[in-house]
Symmetry: C2
Subunit: 398 residues, 2 copies
């Protein structure tokens, strides 16, 4: 199941010419002659609702502080303000375990955090279960790491296991609930990875960007697994959880016990952030604090429930149509096998040309993604209904 | 005058344990037992006034848009919104030349931009005129470049020239007006660097973070020098120019003509930003647009004039006291020779212990900085007067 690529130290021109979603936009414009009016976009995972009211209020009030002679602030704290870190501690307390304030780093988005994090490790082996978020692979290539992919498939429900990997220490990316496949490890499945990391001296890089979509029976945080705080770093984003795609706020948990070659990963990341980052502005951090409050979480949950309903409806349609798919239950994405023997980009073209629906070709998410397609639930219920009507009209789904 | 270090490919633990200003904070806390009340901070270049009213108004209004059902936005444009890029074009038009919208990249601060920019070049030689902003050196070490320092001194007025450098292609950092020395290249001095870059096939990385402090006779932008748009990238920050240290907004100009090993630097940076960055939030970009308007620029200038007055007053005191110094005229910093034969950290300790004034030790800015000290004009006029009284009381300055 695993495939090994040895990569030399790379530069940005070693990457494919453009980032997946840039390419999706480019080809959409090409296929439609730039006339995108009337298209239904189920491609990128962007928000379909405004930012939460409570976030806007906090942000306005914090902006007024910055403009006030007695209350303004200068450079933000590099790793984040304590008020927000304390709110993050509260998030983990509600999940049943404790994280220290010094283990939390506030960032401007999980894309930046995950892209840059492996820079602090010496070059080595990176395990990437594919298909997955392309940023892990792009940045492993840039850093010149040896990449081992373990491949998701229909057989393993797009939830590959560490079986067959060598026992040398590695960096291991896990994105669960998974982007793009929408599948999520249960406790047992995630425990296999944690156990493997502990026994091999590896570090798990756990991307929890979609944890707000978890239903019953799957862990929202890697730290729900025993031993994880000795071997795992967790990335959390407010983009999908709280509609912060525009505002840009995330956090990374780096437990003090996690080491790479006997060095503290926490100390290395702190040093990296102080050399390459200047923190997130105060108003955005106040907005982030607000959405972590009781009222804020309720407001966010109401929106997430709408997105989840969309993916459920879409999943029901695919099921009825006999199309193999996964996702939807713990995720805003549905991942389906391309119909009629088409490949990923052919499906992309067909859906735009015949149904005016934009999705994301599975092959853009790496090995194992060819022949699959991702549709996103980040839209309004009415739009999702229209999209399904259009797909029904296409016939190939029936 | 130049010194060559050959650096192996590095990791973050190759850097000194902490970033200069983190170390300044740590030692200040140590010397005062954490009792920082009553200290006058002339160390870090942080703002002493609130953000401009016009920026706050724009930000509040943009936040309300994000919370509005009909007007919200999702992911920001990765390289920045056109409305802000157009405002940046206006900034350059007022200086007398034209920059294309596609040559502008909006970032979250010049620290991030300058720290990450050289990642897109193949490993090679980096020229760093020292003493200077430590981020250039830290990140050259991390990237494993061969670093050549050319040293500022009393003799050259802390404005070193390219004389004596080999003619192989290089990346060349220029910070003018200079941090920390406050000195600024005139047209003639900067032209030497541009001519050298053109003849050697080098790329100039021009940090214009302090250009808002330029008086008459010195270029605000590297593009005021003929030929620069073929060989120079410019970094501009709103932190000091518009009091945006908290808000985090900057831009980088990457002319399409600039190449490294026949590759477009513009295309490489675009690819890097799409793999590692997700843009700056809409409200902050609207705030940035606002401070670039006529009204916004007038508001910012009023504050800058206050800071410049502070450094002038401080410079006058040093002159009267017979202390050699530079800066102040085109810069918010005064750079002085340590009094009484003290070294930089000794001066740091003494000023805190005997005068309750925090400055920045010159040695923290690299080679040539030992024996010098930086004091910042980023404070209120009354505080600067108090600081000068305290320094007068110290006697060592007289």
């Amino acid at each position: 199941l695993s495939e090994i690529k040895v990569l030399s130290d790379g530069h940005f021109d070693m990457l494919s010419e453009s980032y997946l979603f840039t390419e999706v936009r480019r080809r959409t414009a090409l296929l439609t002659g730039g006339e995108t009016h009337g298209l239904i976009n189920l491609s990128i995972g962007d928000v379909a609702y405004p930012i939460p009211e409570i976030a806007a209020r906090a942000m306005v009030s914090a902006t007024e502080e910055l403009a006030d002679n007695a209350r303004f602030r200068g450079y933000p704290a590099e790793t984040g303000y304590d008020f927000l870190k304390n709110a993050v501690c509260g998030y983990y307390r509600r999940l049943g375990f404790s994280v220290d304030v010094d283990e939390i780093f506030i960032g401007d988005g999980s894309k930046t955090d995950t892209a840059c994090f492996t820079d602090i490790f010496e070059r080595g082996e990176v395990v990437i279960p594919t298909p997955t978020y392309p940023v892990y692979m792009d940045n492993a290539v840039l850093r010149g790491n040896r990449v081992v992919t373990v491949c998701g498939s229909r057989q393993n429900g797009f939830l590959p296991t560490p079986e067959g990997l060598t026992d040398t220490p590695k960096m291991i990316w896990i994105c669960s609930p998974n982007n793009p496949a929408g599948s999520a490890y249960d406790y047992c499945g995630l425990k296999k990875w944690v156990d493997f990391a502990l026994s091999s001296g590896s570090v798990i890089l756990f991307d929890a960007a979609y944890s707000a979509f978890c239903g019953e029976g799957v862990p929202k945080s890697v730290y729900e697994i025993e031993g994880a705080s000795d071997c795992a770093v967790e990335f959390y984003s407010l983009s999908k959880a709280a509609g912060f795609t525009n505002l840009r706020c995330s956090w990374t948990v780096v437990p003090k016990a996690v080491k790479t070659k006997n060095k503290s990963v926490n100390a290395l990341w702190k040093r990296r952030q102080s050399a390459r980052f200047n923190g997130v502005c105060y108003p955005v951090q106040r907005a982030a604090e607000a959405v972590l409050s009781d009222e804020g979480r309720a407001e966010c949950k109401a929106v997430i429930d709408k997105y989840k309903r969309n993916t459920r409806v879409l999943g029901d349609f695919l099921k009825k149509s006999g199309v193999w798919h996964t996702g939807g239950e713990h995720s805003p994405y549905v991942w389906l096998e391309c119909p009629a023997g088409l490949n990923s980009w052919e499906t992309f073209d067909l859906l735009i040309k015949k149904a005016g629906v934009v999705g994301t070709p599975g092959c853009g998410f790496g090995r194992g993604g060819e022949g699959y397609f991702r549709l996103s639930g980040f839209t309004r219920p009415k739009i999702m209904e229209q999209a399904i009507e259009r797909l029904e009209g296409l016939k190939i789904f029936i």
